[in-house]
Each structure stands twice: as structure tokens, then as C-alpha cells.
Symmetry: C2
Subunit: 319 residues, 2 copies
């Protein structure tokens, strides 16, 4: 068996088989069916060794995260994920690395019921490009463009843990080992908020996933919607570990750190109680952190209502 076959072995046999995939991976292209009354939602992200992850990082984590960041984009549209394709370039076909990478990727795919329907592999510097696809009922996908003045701004989960974990890995912040483990999975194995996104489809006026930091990603909503935002710093949901390090770490990881993969949504005031009830019933955290204002840009105030001047530390892979 040549190395090419070795690679295929890890991806052709995979754990999810969906009835809407008529021709699976292995032909010139896959053939699938979008349910009647639904639109197709499509996104792609590329992760490059040395830019998005350390080349020697846990291969299972790389496999998990490569798919997670794409499912997170679908979640931000309120879409139900269905299929994905993988382009993998790697310097050599290392069986152990490939097996762990595939396990990480397939493990997440299994949890969300998404099927790998195509891919390509090549020798080359380590990088992973994934395209993920899903559905949303016609005309009902969430976008960045619908926020209105007066809408409440809410986020799922807790913010800043991934940035704090990265700071710990880089030695910039010290965490006790128990604390480190509790937030390290936020950096290495983020869970896309798929059910949350679908639940918000009927209530939110706009949505974005938080990949580059709250301020940076909320700004996409503001720009697309032609509005501004006012955030109350003390409302931002923090994990227990983060809260224990708040004095040392400051608010920047939560405001401007990347890789959280929570959702940030705007919700008309009238819809908020219904959405909060849904969140309670489905068991996910949803925290109101501010309000959409006229004008543009994000202002942050502290608990006393005083302006807080944050430092932008968002991502730019070419900066």
C-alpha cells in the first residue's frame, strides 16, 4: 500500500453515513440532496501550521479544531451542518499523526452528524482547508446585517478562555495545572454552538461567531448593519478560572481575544424573553452584554458607567 492509499484509508472509511448523500467520497465529486424548502449554507476556512496552530500540536486537536471552526461559521448562520470536504497537505504520510488527526476530526463529525463527502491530499507544508455545508429554511439564515438600534447584544457561553489558555501556553500568564486543564480544551477543542445557532434563528436579528475576538467580530455586525454598540464590561460572562485571574489578565482576553467560537447575536427586545426561555429549556448559557446604538463602533463602559478603553488584540494573519 503506497502512502497515498494510507492517507485515503483514514478518510474514506468514516463514522457518519447520511441518507442525503447519494454518491459519497470516492468518485470525481460527491452528489447530495438539499431538503425541499431549505437553502444551502457554505463556508470554508484554512488552518496553516505555524500560523493557526503549532506544528507539533496534538494532531487530534488539530483535526478537531479544523472542522470546529467551520461548523462554528455554519452555527453563526443558524444552519444545520450536514457535509464537509477536507484538503490536507502534509510533508510526509506519518501514520500515527494521520490516525490521531483523523480521530480528532471524525470524533467531532460524529457528534454533529456531519459526513465527509470529498477531499484531496498532497505532499506539502502542513495545512488543512475544510469546506463545510449545511441547510437553513428558505430565507431564514442569520446574517451580520440585521441588527437594529435598541436590540440587545447577547453571547453564548463564556469569553476569553481560549486567549487565556494561549497566554498560559506562551508563558505570559501563569495558571495552576488544574485551572489550565479546565480552559485548555477551549483553545484546543472548541465546540461549535450549532444547537444554539439553530435555536436563535427565529429570534435573533443578526449573528456572528467569535473567532477573532468579541470586539472584532461584533464590529462585523455593526458594519454590515450600519449601527453602533455599547457593551457593559461587567456583564461579559467569564469562566471561574478566568474570574480568578481577572486582576492579572484584565478584560482584554474576553473583549479582544480570539478562538472562543461562541456566538454573538443581536435580539430585538420583544423577542428576548422567548429566546431566554428557549436557552433555559435547551440548557445553554445566553448572556446579555449590551445594546445596539445608533452611530458606529463599539464603546465599552464599566459597572459604574464610565468609559473603558480596551486594547485591540484581534487577529490579522498578514499583520
Amino acid at each position: 500500500m503506497d502512502e497515498f492509499e494510507l492517507i485515503r484509508r483514514y478518510f474514506v472509511s468514516q463514522p457518519v453515513i447520511r441518507p442525503d448523500v447519494r454518491i459519497p467520497i470516492g468518485d470525481d465529486a460527491a452528489v447530495t440532496r438539499v431538503p425541499p424548502g431549505y437553502e444551502l449554507v457554505v463556508t470554508t476556512d484554512v488552518l496553516v501550521a505555524g500560523v493557526h496552530f503549532f506544528a507539533d500540536a496534538d494532531p487530534g486537536g488539530i483535526g478537531h479544531k479544523s472542522l470546529a471552526v467551520n461548523l462554528s461559521d455554519l452555527a453563526a448562520m443558524g444552519a444545520e451542518p450536514a457535509w464537509f470536504l477536507l484538503d490536507l497537505t502534509l510533508p510526509a504520510a506519518d501514520a500515527t499523526w494521520l490516525q490521531q488527526f483523523a480521530e480528532g476530526m471524525h470524533g467531532l463529525a460524529r457528534q454533529y452528524g456531519v459526513q465527509l463527502i470529498g477531499g484531496d491530499t498532497s505532499r506539502g507544508p502542513l495545512s488543512i482547508a475544510i469546506t463545510a455545508m449545511g441547510f437553513a429554511p428558505e430565507g431564514r439564515a442569520l446574517t451580520r446585517g440585521g441588527a437594529k438600534v435598541g436590540d440587545r447584544i447577547a453571547v453564548t457561553g463564556t469569553l476569553g478562555d481560549a486567549a487565556l489558555a494561549l497566554a498560559a501556553v506562551q508563558g505570559a500568564t501563569h495558571l495552576a495545572s488544574g485551572q489550565k486543564a479546565s480552559i485548555m480544551h477551549r483553545l484546543e477543542r472548541p465546540m461549535p454552538r450549532v444547537a444554539e445557532g439553530m435555536a436563535m434563528r427565529d429570534y435573533a436579528s443578526s449573528a456572528v461567531d467569535i473567532s477573532d475576538g468579541l470586539i472584532a467580530d461584533l464590529s462585523h455586525i455593526l458594519k454590515a448593519s450600519g449601527v453602533g454598540a455599547r457593551l457593559i464590561r461587567e456583564s461579559i460572562p467569564l469562566s471561574e478560572t478566568y474570574r480568578a485571574h481577572l486582576v492579572q489578565a484584565g478584560w482584554e482576553p474576553a473583549l479582544a481575544g480570539g478562538d472562543d467560537y461562541e456566538l454573538c447575536v443581536t435580539v430585538p427586545e420583544a423577542s428576548l424573553p422567548n429566546l431566554q426561555e428557549i436557552a433555559r429549556r435547551q440548557g445553554f448559557a445566553l448572556t446579555v452584554i449590551g445594546e445596539i446604538m445608533s452611530g458606529g463602533g463599539v464603546s465599552v463602559v464599566d459597572a459604574a458607567g464610565q468609559p473603558y478603553h480596551y486594547n485591540a488584540i484581534g487577529h490579522n494573519h498578514f499583520a
Copy 2:
């Protein structure tokens, strides 16, 4: 304007706007509509500098070819191409390179009416991953799996020109400059056989595109269909330039050279006259080169019916 924005500029404004794209590039994901009665056909290919093309190759050609190889996979399914996504990693945001790359890609996209609906860019070693999508009427996409004993084997266009051009670039074959120009575009700017693939949807029993060489790609059909093949060497369609170099170059570029991006199909004998009439009417070349046999593998005979033993020179990026 930062470099990130510079890159986006070349891809967000693009020449094709389709009515079936409801939310275009620029949100967390694109939202599109598959026409009722049609299935979605999806493929992906990655091209890496130093593996699939020379790093200093004409950027326009790289842009063209990256999209072309994906459209060729859709053509092999008999699909009508509609949308594509681009993941581009490059060492630095070189405006001249990007402009030429985008022009090459957009030029081909315009010819086939395919719209760029998503993408991602990152710093990293030069590589291009594209996912292309199209439609085919329900249940009617061509696959590799339908060839039957007695079916005729046919190919579009001429074979071996890209391999001959590559040999000339590498100095292994000498071509006069006029001849070189005539086949160099086959290597650098291959044209996917989209109309041909759609025309064959109602007549062919199986199809594949010739990217790794006739023998290698026909073997995919044979394996998927559980049959063998007999090819008549002298039937293989060659360009004038190739024919002038046949003694020197031999039959291997046509039999086993890669990058032709013609289609190889099998056609039931009863359907062949109708398909040939369609080809005549639509003005594309379709040449019968052999027949599907029982058993497995490809045997090649010369004009006198004697076995011809070819050398496999197919691609394997990890060999």
C-alpha cells in the same frame, strides 16, 4: 489598507453574480439555492507550489488552473457548475501576483458563469484549495461505476499534449517555438469539458476526467464498475504537434501523461450514434478508442492487433 484587505479586494469584487446566490461572500457563510429537481455536486482539489506547479509560474495560469481542475471534476459528473470557494495561503500579499492570479481565476469563472461565494486567506507557503459546486438533475449525475461489458470507450479532445508540454519545459523533449506555444496552453490553461460532460449525461454509462493520465483514470472506471478495457493505441486522438513528435515522444504521454483534463466516458453501443450526433452538433471532438471487456485492467493493442506494453507514468504526490 492592510494586506488582508488588499487580498480581499481581489476576490470580493468578482465578475459573476448569480441569482441563485442569496447571501454572497462576506458573511460567516454563503447562502445559495439548488434548483428543485436537482442534486448538488461537490468536489475539491488542492494545488501546492513545487508539487502541482512551479512557484514562479505565471500567476494567471495558476489562478486559471486551480479553478479549471475543479470544474473538470464537475464536468466528469455531467454537472452544471455554479459556485466555488477559495482557500489561498501565500507567503506575502504581493499585489502584482494577486492581481494576476485573480484575473486568471476570474477569467475562467466568467467563461463558465461560476460565482466565488466564499474563501479564506492566510500567510503560509503558497497553496490553493478550491471547492466547486454544481447541479445535476436528480439521479442523473455520471459516475465511475456504470460501465458494462461491450460499452465503447471514448475521449474528448486530444490526449498527451500537457505531458508533452511539461517534457518540453523540463528540457526532455525539444519543440519548435511555434509548436510549443500551441500545446503549452494545454498545460497552463486547460479548459474543463463542462458542456461535453453535460451533453454526455444522457448517453454515457460512466465518466471520469483525465487528470492523472488515461490509463490511471480509466482504471478508476474499471475498478468501480468491475470490468476491464481494451484500447486500440492508434485510435487515441493526438494533436498535430504531438503527431509530429510521435516517433520521438512515443505513446506514453497520451496513455499515461497527466493534466489533460479531457473526459473519458463509456457509452453503450446503442447510444453511441446519438451521442456522436450531439457531439457533431455541439462541435466537440469525441473519439472511440476502445471497448469495455470482462475481467479487469487495461490492455492496449497496436493497429495490427498486437499487445502494446506501455510504461505507467501516472502521478502520485507521495511516491
